[in-house]
């Protein structure tokens, strides 16, 4: 049996007979729909409920605390040596030539010859009961350290942006695989049927470097593709009725369409026709539900102020607030990409002294507000929030082409990331790098470990969340056995 096809057939065949008032043929088609149950793959452990709605909520495999994910991705890779990983020794060596031992046999994207070490120009201080070190450029994040786990020992094996983002989100540095949000909506469905289960929000002016492939459904059915919601134009592509057509006309035209399609269903007995009728009705409901949830002007002023959100902008602050509104409505996975963190130091647009504080200012307050807001609503326990980039940055100054601006080159060996909520321990610091912040010395967390840990938090066994394609049971964590759920991060 071809599970890919069968699964898709089953899950895209929604049968909202009741809602369409379409009793017709339901009995005659019973055999067909019953057959759909064959798509249940007894071994994949993915619950494929009798209701063949692909986004119907499904029970997790394991008891997981988190019900939704909000992933705040800082695209371009923030220099976490200037944000979270405090290295006084590196500061002492500032502008000293880099020791041979650090560059021998290493590949860099841009650094040539012998670079100079670069101590952070920013002041660090300890915060909260946890005493977590945070840089002065993240004053708001410093205020939530007791709610998060800071991991200082992330490691990837990709050091160009696009492959690294693809690797992080799809488990493969080459495009074509399914992304994390697609995997989770495939495994768990979504709680709100009038909204997409996997929403993507963009800020910073451009898409993440990995392009739209980082929210692709890959080999999974396209119904699990991330849906980009936009702050300008239609919140979802083609959501608005054409100019000159009002809701009454749309309703009447759908009624006529339903009648014609019912005639069709009677004549051919094809369940796809019934599914199509149901999907048109769902589209009609989405047309109302999506603009409502996307309208942040419905929030009270103090909440807008808390995030620094201003209705009408495509800002990170607005997106962070939207993320909360979406998970509140039962959306399974919300992915934010904020572009502009590629701090090479080739000019003021991407340097440590101007660009970095600007990016921090754009995001720090809202990221902290999101945690506080989720917490005050009692949503933090069931929402996993992740903040991070796609790789680290060198402890050396890049000085590309003799640039006078401070900046850091790509560095896959180590970087920081934080997680909060969804069963993650509050107020913890995990992992450690050497005194120069060059390599990890304790508790390494690889990208595959991170993926496994996120799936685990959502109650999915990363080794059993599989999808058959090209003869293989594909997984987010890849075919090898290296991924380890980081249980130490959980309460």
């Amino acid at each position: 049996m071809d599970y890919r096809l069968e699964n898709t057939r089953a899950i895209t065949r929604r049968t909202f007979f009741g809602q369409t008032g379409l009793g017709l043929g339901a009995l005659a088609l019973g055999g067909l729909l019953g057959d759909v149950a064959l798509a249940d793959n007894p071994k994949s452990k993915i619950q494929n409920p009798k209701s063949p709605n692909p986004l119907a909520p499904r029970k997790p495999m394991l008891p997981g605390k988190a019900k939704s994910v909000i992933y705040l991705h800082m695209s371009g890779a923030p220099p976490t040596l200037d944000l979270f990983d405090y290295k006084p020794e590196l500061v002492k060596l500032n502008m000293q030539p880099c020791p041979d031992s650090l560059i021998k046999g290493e590949r860099f994207a841009f650094i040539k010859g012998v670079p100079k070490m670069l101590g952070t120009p920013y002041k660090f201080a300890q915060h909260g009961h946890s005493g977590t070190w945070v840089s002065e450029v993240l004053p708001h994040t410093a205020g939530i350290v007791d709610d998060i786990t800071l991991i200082r020992s992330l490691n990837t094996d990709q050091f160009n942006h696009a492959p690294a983002e693809l690797f992080l989100y799809t488990g493969n540095a080459i495009a074509g695989n399914a992304s994390m949000g697609s995997w989770l909506t495939y495994g768990l469905g979504s709680e709100n049927q009038n909204l997409p289960g996997f929403v993507v929000l963009i800020s910073g002016g451009t898409d993440p470097t990995g392009g739209k492939s980082v929210w692709s459904s890959g080999f999974l059915p396209s119904v699990y593709q991330g849906v980009q919601c936009r702050s300008v134009g239609d919140p979802i592509l083609y959501l608005n009725d054409p100019a000159g057509m009002n809701r009454d006309s749309r309703r009447r035209s759908l009624d006529a369409l339903d009648r014609l399609n019912e005639i069709e269903a009677k004549e051919y007995g094809d369940p796809e026709t019934l599914t199509r009728i149901a999907q048109y009705e769902l589209a009609y409901r989405m047309q109302i539900a999506v603009p409502e949830v996307m309208d942040i002007s419905r929030e009270p002023q103090h909440i807008l102020d808390m995030y620094g959100a201003k209705p009408g902008q495509g800002s990170f602050a607005n997106n962070a607030l939207l993320a909360r509104r979406l998970v509140e409505q039962g959306v399974r996975y919300v992915q934010l990409y904020d572009w502009g963190w590629d701090i090479h130091g080739t000019g003021t647009g991407d340097d440590l002294m101007t660009a970095l504080p600007k990016k921090c200012k754009e995001t720090d307050q809202a990221a902290a507000a999101l945690i506080r807001d989720l917490k005050q609503r009692g949503l933090l326990d069931e929402t996993l929030v992740v903040w991070g980039g796609e790789f680290g940055r060198t402890p050396m100054n890049e000085a590309r082409g003799g640039s006078k601006y401070l900046g850091r080159d790509h560095h896959p060996h180590c970087f920081c990331l934080w997680m909060a909520g969804g069963g993650i321990k509050p107020g913890m610091v995990y992992g450690e790098t050497d005194e120069l912040g060059y390599r990890i010395v304790r508790d390494k967390v690889t990208i595959r470990d991170l993926q496994a840990t996120i799936l685990h938090a959502m109650g999915m066994d990363p080794y059993r969340l599989t999808y058959k394609y090209q003869g293989l049971d594909n997984r987010l964590i890849g075919p090898s056995a290296e991924a380890v759920v980081q249980k130490a991060l959980f309460v």
């Binding site: 049996m1 071809d2 599970y3 890919r4 096809l5 895209t12 065949r13 055999g31 007894p42 071994k43 994949s44 860099f108 994207a109 160009n160 696009a162 080459i174 963009i202 451009t206 898409d207 993440p208 470097t209 392009g211 739209k212 134009g233 592509l237 083609y238 959501l239 009725d241 054409p242 100019a243 000159g244 057509m245 009454d248 006309s249 009447r252 035209s253 006529a256 014609l260 005639i263 069709e264 051919y268 007995g269 094809d270 796809e272 026709t273 199509r276 999907q279 048109y280 769902l282 047309q287 572009w339 790509h410 058959k468 090209q470 003869g471 293989l472 049971d473 075919p479 090898s480 056995a481």
Partner: protein, 805 residues
């Protein structure tokens, strides 16, 4: 007796086992999963799926993952001794076979290990036991066996029409389950079906009527011949080839810069399908046209097939890393497209299921590893291509220059004129098509295996070669891409013809006879009609004279149009798609072809048909990609490179979907929603979905609204005077058949309600009828036209319009 097992074994066993494979027993409709208890078990059908899902990950081909030195996926290994001296399978004696002992054991000895999450059911254990008892016969995988032409089954006293041998095979299978085929579809249905399938466009009402009223016995055959000869035929089939070849107008990866110079290759594909060269030629030229003796320009153009790989221009990337990725992609795509093999699995480890070792993967890749291209932003090497007009201009300039040069002594005026001509000549810019070109002999690369596919981790040196489990390279075949092509199109290749006929079949029936078109390996699905598949493959390679073919000329081998004609003229293809209740019950998914399978049109099909119905369609064939309108700002978000989508004007807004500019990171959103892939990598099969976002496209996308506006004007112009006549006309057009009264009524009612509303809102009416199509022609009433636009919007969204049936 026990197999050696240590804790390490258990752990790796679990993880490796979960990685690869859980496959339930493939059961055809009508057969019981539990198959007849006492019948002879077939290794491939009955046994292998169980062992592949539960055992092979640790006891299969992959020598690195193999546990206890025990291998049970091959006869000789399973019959021999493991590291611990145990014999996995003793033919005829389950009790003496370690395999049966372990799967029937309890406690820690039980296989598969408890922690693997895998568990054999009692039924599965029984199958393995009986198979061993019956002699443990390892029959080879069906698709790797040579193709032999099966005899055509005779049907005694057929109760339904038999048009050609396809029907004998299909009927024989249906009769086995006591299912009757469906009667032939009515003529309106047939002409729409075969037009959509062969040229991707609906018939015009005149074309449909001409066929319906043609009472000659060969009316249908004439229709098929006309469609096969249509220049739009090549467009329809090139569409399929774009996904396989991962054609795009951008280079991919993060920056995804535009690649506006590959379209001449698409032209080549369209022309090739129209000219209909033998399939073996079609394949060879794309893989190695440049290596043929004295290659023509066209043969070199063909090689751009493999220049559709991605190029990474992101700053700081390693050229060799992404050159290697492209070469790997060429090897993988070649095996996928032409042989249905998932060879990519073998880049990190020997294939877990198919006979391809890791070393063999890198030997196969070595054929492709000697080309000049190396991930350069300018895509060199390229071949300059001049249009016909440019070529005439060049010839004229050269003649004039020769005249000027030959005039002795040359005057200053002549010199100046010559300079001017030289500049004009230099200013004629060709399209520089990326092509395949071998490196110079002294620059040939040393090929090696790569650990985990990583370009930095070079392993042992390898020479080019093909996997040993298949036919060997034909005698005299060079160790180059040309050799690969000769190997693929060799009649000894067990897969090429099977994969090709299956692909064409799938295009016409929605599913292939092998559903997993992309995987003819041991994890793929078994053919529903194995003998029909082999008969078609044999007939494709070595055709036999058909009764309707002229005896004066022998039918040509590898003839694609002939194959398609054979299929679409079969009674099987001509069946109605109305399902009889008994057929639904016995063959719910229509795998036995008891009716024509209804299916939604492709992304391009939906667009092309709507353009045709609205009368907007441009029939221009070939040329550079075009930019039909898309929502503003989508390219704004691109990481860098071109951010402004240069929306086409005029005719180019209404070209077929084949010509829409394909930027990999931002594929046309209205087509992506209908399952079109990003074309970053080869896609063999689009899995159709049915989602609310699709409804939003065809209801609200301004592109589709514009078509509804145009259709409304067409209805008003051509549809008659009354709402009833006009509704009937619209339905007739959209459905391709005269409508039923109950279909007309809801549209008339809708029209009248909308008319009443728009009469009180003329501004809205004007908006709805003119944006974006433009001002209404004189004499058309905005309120009436707004109402017809709403009706047309409904017409273009009808299930029976979006579906081929």
């Amino acid at each position: 007796m026990r197999l050696k097992m240590n804790p390490v074994h258990i752990i790796t066993g679990i993880l490796a086992a979960t990685a690869c494979g859980s496959l339930a027993i493939a059961a055809l409709p009508g057969t019981k999963t539990g198959f007849a208890a006492q019948s002879k078990l077939d290794y491939q059908r009955d046994v292998r799926p169980i062992m592949a899902a539960n055992c092979f990950a640790c006891h299969g081909q992959d020598e690195k993952k193999r546990q206890a030195g025990l291998r049970i996926d091959a006869r000789d290994a399973a019959y021999g001794k493991s590291d611990g001296g145990h014999v996995a399978i003793v033919a005829g004696k389950p009790m003496a076979s370690a395999v049966y002992q372990r799967i029937s054991a309890a406690g820690p000895l039980k296989m598969p290990p408890e922690k693997s999450g895998k568990r054999l059911t009692a039924g599965e254990i029984d199958v393995l036991k009986r198979w061993i008892a019956q002699g443990a016969d390892y029959t080879p995988h069906w698709a790797f066996r040579p193709i032999r032409r099966p005899s055509v089954p005779a049907i005694q006293n057929p109760k339904s029409k038999i048009q050609n041998p396809i029907d004998n095979f299909v009927l024989a299978r249906l009769l086995k389950d006591g299912i009757a085929p469906s009667p032939e579809a009515d003529r309106y249905t047939l002409v729409r079906r075969v037009s959509l399938d062969l040229v991707g466009l609906p018939p015009t009402p005149q074309e449909a009527d001409a066929f319906v009223n043609d009472h000659s016995p060969d009316a249908y055959e004439k229709l098929v011949d006309r469609l096969l000869a249509s220049p739009h035929f090549g467009e329809k089939w090139a569409r399929m080839w774009m996904d396989l070849s991962r054609y795009a107008d951008s280079a991919g990866y993060g920056s995804d810069p535009l690649r506006p110079n590959l379209w001449p290759w698409r032209n080549w594909v369209i022309n090739a399908f129209n000219r209909n060269p033998p399939y073996d030629r079609f394949v060879t030229e794309q893989l190695a046209g440049d290596l043929l003796p004295n290659p023509t320009q066209d043969q070199i153009i063909a090689t751009a097939f493999h220049r559709n790989t991605m190029t990474n221009t992101e700053g700081g990337t390693d050229r060799e890393e992404f050159r290697t990725a492209a070469v790997k992609d060429r090897a993988i795509t070649t095996a996928q497209v032409f042989m249905g093999l998932t060879m990519g699995c073998a880049q990190c480890h020997s294939h877990k299921f198919d006979p391809i070792t890791q070393k063999e993967f890198y030997r196969f890749m070595a054929f492709f590893n000697q080309t000049e291209d190396n991930d350069q932003p300018d895509e060199r090497p390229t071949m300059p291509l001049y249009s016909d007009a440019q070529q005439r201009q060049i010839a004229a300039l050269k003649t004039e220059m020769a005249t000027l040069e030959s005039s002795v002594p040359s005057s200053p005026e002549a010199k100046a004129a010559l300079e001017k001509k030289k500049k004009e000549l230099a200013a004629i810019a060709p399209v520089n098509l990326p092509v395949m070109k071998e490196v110079a002999v002294e620059k040939r690369r040393q090929c090696t295996t790569l650990t985990l596919g990583n370009f930095l981790l070079k392993g042992e040196p390898v020479l080019p070669g093909v996997p040993a489990a298949f036919n060997s390279l034909p005698p005299g075949a060079p160790a180059s891409r040309l050799g690969v092509a000769e190997w693929i199109v060799s009649r000894d290749n067990p897969l090429t013809a099977r994969v090709a006929v299956n692909r064409f079949w799938a295009q016409l029936f929605g599913n292939g006879l092998v559903v997993t078109e992309e995987d003819f390996g041991q994890q793929g699905t078994l053919p529903t009609h194995p003998e029909l598949l082999d008969w078609l493959a044999a007939e494709f390679m070595t055709p036999t004279q058909r009764p309707n073919e002229p005896t004066t000329q022998r039918p040509a081998p590898w003839d694609i149009k002939r194959l398609l004609k054979l299929i679409v003229t079969s009674a099987t293809y001509r069946q109605s798609s109305k399902a009889a209740a008994s057929a639904i019950e016995k063959d719910p998914r229509d795998r036995l072809l008891s009716r024509y399978p209804r299916r939604r049109l492709t992304a391009e099909g939906v667009r092309d048909q709507a353009l045709a119905l609205s009368g907007l369609l441009s029939e221009k064939i070939g040329g550079p990609s075009v930019f039909p309108p898309q929502p503003a700002g989508l390219w704004q978000a691109a990481f860098n490179g071109d951010r402004t989508y240069p929306t086409s004007t005029g005719e180019d807004r209404y070209r077929r979907g084949l010509y829409t500019f394909w930027r990999r990171t931002v594929p046309p959103p209205n087509m992506a929603t209908f399952d079109a892939p990003s074309r970053e990598i080869c896609t063999i099969r689009r899995i159709p979905t049915n989602t609310p976002l699709q409804a939003l496209v065809t209801l609200n996308d301004p592109v589709y609204l514009e078509m509804a506006q145009a259709l409304a004007r067409r209805i008003a112009r051509e549809g008659g005077a009354t709402p009833e006549l006009r509704s009937a006309f619209g339905l007739r057009l959209a459905l391709g058949r005269p409508p039923k009264p109950e279909q007309i009524q809801p549209l008339v009612a809708l029209y009248e309600k909308e008319l009443a509303q728009y009469k009180t809102g003329i501004d809205l009416a004007k908006k709805l009828t003119t944006d974006p199509l433009g001002p209404l022609p004189a004499g058309m009433d905005p309120a009436e036209m707004a109402a017809w636009t709403v009706v047309s919007n409904v017409l273009l969204n009808m299930d029976s319009v979006l579906t081929n049936h």
